[in-house]
Amino acid sequence: MANSGTVSAGSAALAAQYNNLRADVLSATTGHVHDGAVDGGNKIEGTVLKSTGATAGYILTAGAGGTATTWQAPAVTVGVFSSSTAVVSGFQATAGTITYLNSDLAGGTGVTKIATAASGSRFTMISSAANTGNGTARYWNLGTAATAGSVNITPVVAGTTFYVKVDGTGFDTGSSGYAFVERNQATTTGNRTLTVRRYTDTLATNSWNCTIASNVSSANYSNWTTAPFTTGVFWEPTMKIWWGFSNSDVLGTARLYVINDSTGTLYTANAYVVTAGTFVSGVLVPPATAAGTGTIYVYQTSVGVAGWATYSVTATSITAIGTSVTFPTTDTTPEDAFLWNSAGSVVQYIGNNGNQIFNSSFTALQNNTASTSLNPWEMLIGGKYESTRRLGVDQTTDSPSLGTATIYLVPNYDAGGTNVFTSINAFQTQKGKDVYLMGSGSATYMLYLEDAIGTAISQQLTGIGTAVFTASTAGRVWNTPTGVTAIQTRQPTASVGGVTYLGAGSVVAVVVGTATGTSTATTISLA
C-alpha cells in the first residue's frame, strides 16, 4: 500500500505496510504532516519551538528541516532601544500669527502623555498664537502621521489686542479628558483672565471652562508675560480633581486651586501672600479612596519666605493646615519638589543648599544641608523608585554645554539613607531635562538626549541592583537608537522641541519642529 493508503478496520498489516507507515510518520523527506494540509514532509512547528531561524517569540530553535538536534536560544536584545517615528506636519495653528509651538516654553507642557486602552498611546501638541490668534490643541496617535483630532481654542476675552497662551495640560484616564490653561488679556477692556478649559479626549466637546482669575488689575502689567499665570494644571485620579497654583500676575498673590472634574467647580485658598516675585509649587499626596482627604505640600520658590505649607484637599474643598517645616536658612534658591511615590511615600525638596525628604506625615527624614556633593543646580531627573532605593540623575550644568551628569543611588532613602554618587562625564544637557532612566534593577538603562540637534544615546547602567552603585564603566552599553537622529530637545533659535517621559513602558516621545514647518514625533522604548 502507499504511505497514505486507506486501511479498513480489521485489515492485517504486512511487514511492507508497517514499514511504509513508519516512514509516513518518521521520515523527514517523505513523511506527512498530520493536520490535513499539503505538506513537504516536514515536522509541524509547535507553538513554542521553531524549526528555522527564530529571532523573537521563541524560547528554543532547531535547525532547518527539523533534522538538526542542536537547540539554541535566540539572541537576546533586551536593553537595545528601538524607535518608532512618524513625520507629522500641520503643527501650525490655523489662525493668527504663530510665534512658537508651546512644547518647552514658559512652563508649558505642550507634549503630553496620553494613553488609553481603546485608542492606544497618543500625544498632544498645543500651539499658541499671538495678536488676534487662537490657541490650537491637536493630538496624534503614536506612529500615525495624520492628526487624529484638533480644536481651536477661541480666546475667552476678545479685544483690540489680545494674546492667548495655552499652556499646561493634564489628562484624565478615568473619564478621558484634557485640561488646558488659557492666559489672556485684552488691553482695550482691561480684562485679564486665566481659564482652565476641559475637553474630552477627542477634543470634540468643551466640557467646561473655569475662570480661575479674571478682571485682574495690576500696575505691573505690561504684556502677556505678566498676565495671570499658573504652574500648569495637574490631574489627580483618585479624587478626580485638577489642581495647581495661580498668580494674578508675577507680583501678585499665589493661590492654590482645585477644580472638580465632574462639576467644573473652583475651590481656592491663598498659598502665600507675600511680596514681589512670589511663586509657589508643590506636590499632592493622594488619599487611598475617592472620598478621602489628600495632602498638598506647598513650597515657595521665591527668596525670602522659607518654608513648606500643607493643605488638606478633597474633591470639594481646600483647608489650610499650616506651615510645618522651614527651608534651610542657607538655601536661597529653592529649586523643585518631587513626590517619589504615591500615597504613603515621601516628598523630596531640592534646594541650592539643602535636600529635604519627608514622609507622608511630613516628618523630616533627611535634612541634608551640608552636602558638598550637591551643587547649586542639583536636580533629580528621571528619578526612579525601586523598593527602598532611589535612583536619580544629578546634572550640574544649567546651560547647553558639555557638563557632567551624576548618577546617584540612595539605599534606604525613606529612612534617610546616604547618597551614593557615580559621575558620568560629557553630557550635554539642559538642567533638569533630557535624561531618563528606564527599566529596573540591574537592567536599568539611561537614555540621554542631546540638548542641541544631535543623536540620542543610551547607556546601560550596571551594578545598581545591589546596594552600592558600581562606579566602573565596564558593562555600560552605548548605542544610538535606530532611526533616531537630529533630536532636538530644547528650544533653539528657530525651532522647538519637547520630550515627554511617558513612564509606563519606558517610552519617551520626542517632537522636533520649526515654527511653521513640519515636525517629527518619535517614541523610544526598550526593546
Binding site: V156, V157, T160, T205, S207, W208, T211, T265, L266
Partner: protein, 63 residues
C-alpha cells in the same frame, strides 16, 4: 451644542461649557451670536439669562 453656565451671586460667570454637573442649561435661542467672542467679559448670567454687563463697550475693530 448645549451651553451650560454657572455664575456667582453677582452674575459673574464662573464655569461654562457643553456639559458638567450642576450647571444651568441655556436654550440655544437665548445664546447671543457673539457669545463665543466675548463670553465672560461681556456677559453676566442672571436668573438664567445671559445679559450684557453694565458699562460694557465693545472693543474697537482691529486695525
Amino acid at each position: 451644542m448645549k451651553l451650560f453656565i454657572r455664575s456667582d451671586e453677582s452674575g459673574n460667570i464662573t464655569t461654562w461649557g457643553e456639559g458638567f454637573e450642576g450647571g444651568t442649561e441655556v436654550e440655544p435661542a437665548d445664546v447671543p451670536a457673539d457669545w463665543e467672542t466675548f463670553r465672560t467679559a461681556k456677559y453676566v448670567f442672571i436668573d438664567g439669562s445671559l445679559t450684557v454687563r453694565a458699562g460694557w463697550t465693545d472693543p474697537e475693530p482691529e486695525s
